[in-house]
């Protein structure tokens, strides 16, 4: 059993620059065995870049990394693994078309026959102890994201990792799953592993960590050690951290006041969905017997672990995914079977979570992106011919109105920051004629300022009488904004609860497959 709290990795003044942004600015911190070290910061604070440098994906421009006391350049993921650093990235890094066993065996010398028997023994030895017992012969794509995460943790341990890095690992877990992860992490730390836990959620940081390093805009602005975490109350610590991150004291920076439910909103249903059925495809859930309604001015939250059909539901409503059975009514119109364009004309709007891949065409100017869904429509196009000045004028109006920070309407949209791309998409969808808006993970990857702004937009939209379907993996967000919360599990609606005091528990239970 190694000495508790041995310094394994020391970061000393580590700096990393990318074109246009200083990702890490002279960050110094220490990773010790037997300790859960939380790296806390909002999106854009530089956490992921630090992880990249620890796992060999990037190299620092300035400063040093000391491993076991020696200055070391971690040159590749292979080198990092050899040094004992195992990383579980935010996005699953398993090969979908291989089995679990094959994924665990990747990395052995190329001529070897895959040593499955040996693997089975080792995996059982390590995994049983921790409660990780995946089916080794299962195809990885059939596993849930949470299960895949467990496999990745197992992989790190199989590689004899001394340092385990967990990057934003809780976004794909139920509340119960988060607790289990916490217990697992504690156990591993108890066995002498050094854990680096990255998150942007304050409460998690305080609950999980022995030590919290707070990052802001690339710099480490503070560190709270185990002693302080034990001795002071949770609210005090959170206020401390908020002050470090944002410069003012508050125990609830996201202003996550739970929204109260007004029963009359559900009375006149703006959107009515009945028995929607979409067949499943390899790797994706379908939809089965999905029925719900959304009233005018109502926000219906959609909770659920990522990958349980939420994206399919959004696409089926928008018309991108054809529904084989079921009906959708928006206002007076039946929109089942209508094309994407027709549904849009009827007042349906869909803000995709995949901003760069689907939401915009990165190489095209902001102005064109603002009207991407109205190509050819007058008055910006007359007889099919582009009216350049009209387009730029209208684009300028929208840019001002929605505060999209861009050098010019002609700038390629891909150059904008994440928050401004989201504002661009917001401007495009909300500008005119919207009745029912589907938001798919609208604050994902945004920093706090943009996150709060986006949430305010949602509140304003609902207040203005439009209906909102808010799909999110952030339970706090759903509790803060929704009137009711539906929970999606394996392509079905597991239940819909009013957003009252007991909602958090109820949603958690529904997510795990228990009755609310």
């Amino acid at each position: 059993m190694p000495n508790a709290n041995q310094d394994i990795i020391v970061l000393d003044g580590v700096t990393k620059r990318f074109p246009g942004v200083l990702a890490n600015d002279a960050v110094s911190l220490t990773i010790r065995s037997g300790e859960v070290h939380v790296l806390l910061g909002e999106n854009g604070a530089g956490k992921s870049t630090l992880i990249d440098m620890l796992s060999g994906v990037q190299q620092p421009d300035d400063g040093h990394i000391f491993v076991d006391g020696k200055p070391t350049a971690i040159t590749s993921p292979r080198h990092a693994l050899a040094l004992g650093v195992g990383t579980v990235f935010q996005h699953t890094m398993l090969v979908p078309s291989l089995t679990v066993a094959e994924n665990l065996l990747l990395g052995a010398p190329w001529w070897q026959r895959p040593r499955k028997a040996e693997l089975r023994v080792r995996a059982a030895a390590i995994g049983n102890n921790l409660g990780i017992t995946p089916n080794l012969e299962a195809l990885t794509s059939s596993l849930s994201l949470g299960q895949q995460q467990q496999v990745e943790i197992l992989r790190a341990l199989l590689r004899n990792s001394r340092v385990l890095i967990l990057d934003e690992s809780t976004s794909m877990l139920t509340p119960q799953g988060i607790e289990e992860l916490g217990a697992l992490v504690r156990k591993l730390a108890g066995q002498g592993l050094a854990i680096v836990f990255i998150t942007h959620k304050l409460k998690e940081a305080v609950a999980f960590g022995d030590r919290v390093s707070v990052l802001k805009l690339g710099r480490k602005v503070g560190e709270i050690d185990a002693g302080q975490l034990r001795s002071r109350s949770e609210t005090t610590i959170i206020s401390d951290i908020v002050e470090l991150m944002f410069g003012k004291r508050s125990d609830d920076p996201e202003g996550a006041v739970q929204r109260s439910h007004s029963p009359e909103k559900t009375a006149n249903a703006l959107l009515e969905v009945r028995d929607l059925y979409v067949p499943a495809t390899p790797g994706n859930h379908g939809l089965e017997s999905v029925s719900f309604s959304i009233g005018q001015g109502e926000v219906l939250g959609l909770a659920g672990i990522d990958g349980n059909g939420q994206k399919q539901l959004a696409e089926a409503l928008a018309g991108q995914l054809p529904a084989v059975a079921g009906s959708i009514r928006l206002g007076p119109a039946q929109i089942t079977g209508l094309s994407v364009g027709r549904r849009r004309a009827a007042g349906l709007r869909y803000l995709t979570d995949d901003r760069l891949g689907e939401g915009i065409v990165g190489d095209f100017p902001v102005a064109i992106n603002l009207f991407l869904k109205e190509v050819g429509a007058p008055p910006l196009w007359r007889h099919g011919i582009e009216q350049r000045s009209a387009i730029e004028a209208r684009a300028g109006e929208l840019i001002r109105q929605y505060d999209v920070r861009t050098p010019s309407p002609r700038t390629p949209a891909g150059r904008l920051s994440g928050g401004n791309i989201q504002k661009l998409i917001l401007a495009r969808e909300l500008a005119f004629g919207a009745k029912l808006i589907i938001f798919n993970k609208p604050t994902h990857g945004l920093d706090l300022a943009n996150t709060l702004a986006a949430r305010q937009w949602i509140k304003d939209i609902a207040a203005g009488g439009m209906g909102v379907l808010l799909i999110s993996t952030d339970l706090e967000e759903l509790l803060a904004l929704s009137d009711r919360i539906a929970v999606m599990s394996r392509g079905r609606i597991a239940g819909i609860v009013d957003n009252s005091g007991a909602a958090r528990m109820a949603v958690g239970r529904l997510m795990t497959g228990l009755a609310a």
Partner: protein, 341 residues
């Protein structure tokens, strides 16, 4: 200092001149005298430059078709087959129609027929790509092999002119062909080619339809999200692109050759691909580069006879241009990315 666009365009050409020249040198041919000969025959002699301008006519049509396809993200590599079938359609129908109606009308109908035949030839790859997601690189290439054989079959068996000993279609009399421009030997097909490429350029850059195609080419997922009817647009792109290649075939027959001989396959289509890339899919730039390519093509044909350097040299040249261009663009992007503040 930013690498100027001009250098990016001229650079690959110069690199190709050097590397291809080295190939010639290895083969025992003096590259400088080869290039001088090509220039002389292709550009500097009055007869030669007229031939060059004439050669531009079908090439511009093909280039126009390629621009549409590539900007829409579709690799139409079947232009050679589409060209030949369009040519055969024109050669078969031309003499017949010319006897039945005024020449102008006959020529117009021939153009329509050639365009339709070529567009139809692309229907199968179009449908496979639009509705089954089958990679069009392979399907269009296969259709070219099929089309080349089919063209030969049609010439030898169906449209063979019994009156001549050389196996070919019935020759369209010179007076019934596309008129020449003014006093020159340059075919008026050149005008058609210029119209085609400028029209395509304007369509792609200024119209809603062109924008839709470009969206599909840049991001098919964004196109779906934006509600564009991607399968229908895909089929439309194939039809337009192939149709223009077929039109090119008609222009070559009705304007220059008057008939199709067996085993005739000038293979313009693949050779024009690097030209279109060099022009960055811009119609006006394409005119300039097609002109340069035509000089090489005409000069090269002459050089094949006089200097013993086969026409295949042109292929080598444009291939080098394409590869060097890809490299140059890569390095330019790297340089400009690292310079951003």
């Amino acid at each position: 200092m930013m690498v100027p666009r001009l250098l990016l365009t001229i650079g690959p050409i110069i690199a190709a001149l050097i590397i291809a020249g080295a190939v010639l040198a290895v083969a025992g041919v003096n590259p400088l005298s080869y290039y001088a000969y090509v220039l002389q025959r292709g550009l500097l002699s009055p007869g030669g430059v007229q031939q060059t301008l004439t050669r531009m006519a079908p090439l511009l049509c093909i280039a126009a078709g390629l621009i549409i396809a590539f900007r829409a993200g579709i690799w139409n590599l079947g232009t050679d087959g589409q060209f030949l079938l369009g040519a055969v359609a024109a050669a078969a129908s031309g003499p017949l129609l010319a006897e039945m109606m005024p020449v102008g009308l006959a020529l117009f109908l021939c153009f329509v027929l050639s365009t339709l035949v070529a567009a139809l030839w692309s229907l199968l790859p179009a449908l496979l790509r639009a509705y089954q997601g089958v990679n069009e690189i392979i399907t269009t290439l296969m259709m070219t092999f099929l089309g080349t054989s089919l063209a030969n079959v049609l010439v030898k068996l169906v449209f063979l002119d019994p009156a001549t000993t050389v196996p070919q279609t019935r020759t369209l009399p010179v007076e019934d062909r596309l008129p020449r421009l003014f006093d020159t030997t340059v075919t008026s097909g050149l005008i058609l080619g210029l119209i085609a490429i400028i029209a395509v350029h304007l369509m792609m850059t200024r119209t809603a339809f062109g924008l839709r195609l470009r969206i599909v080419g840049a991001s098919p997922r964004a196109a779906l999200h934006a509600g564009l009817g991607v399968p229908a647009l895909t089929v439309a792109v194939f039809a337009l692109s192939a149709g223009l290649a077929g039109l090119a075939g008609a222009v070559d027959i009705l304007g220059v050759y008057g008939n199709v001989r067996t085993d005739w396959d000038p293979a313009y289509g693949m050779a024009v691909i690097p030209v279109v890339f060099l022009a960055r899919m811009n119609g006006f730039a394409a005119i300039a580069f097609v002109f340069l390519f035509s000089i090489l093509s005409i000069g090269g044909e002459s050089a094949a006879r006089r200097l013993g350097v086969p026409q295949n040299f042109t292929l080598v040249f444009v291939a080098i241009v394409l590869i060097v261009l890809a490299l140059a663009e890569y390095y330019t992007k790297r340089i400009s990315q690292s310079r951003e503040p």
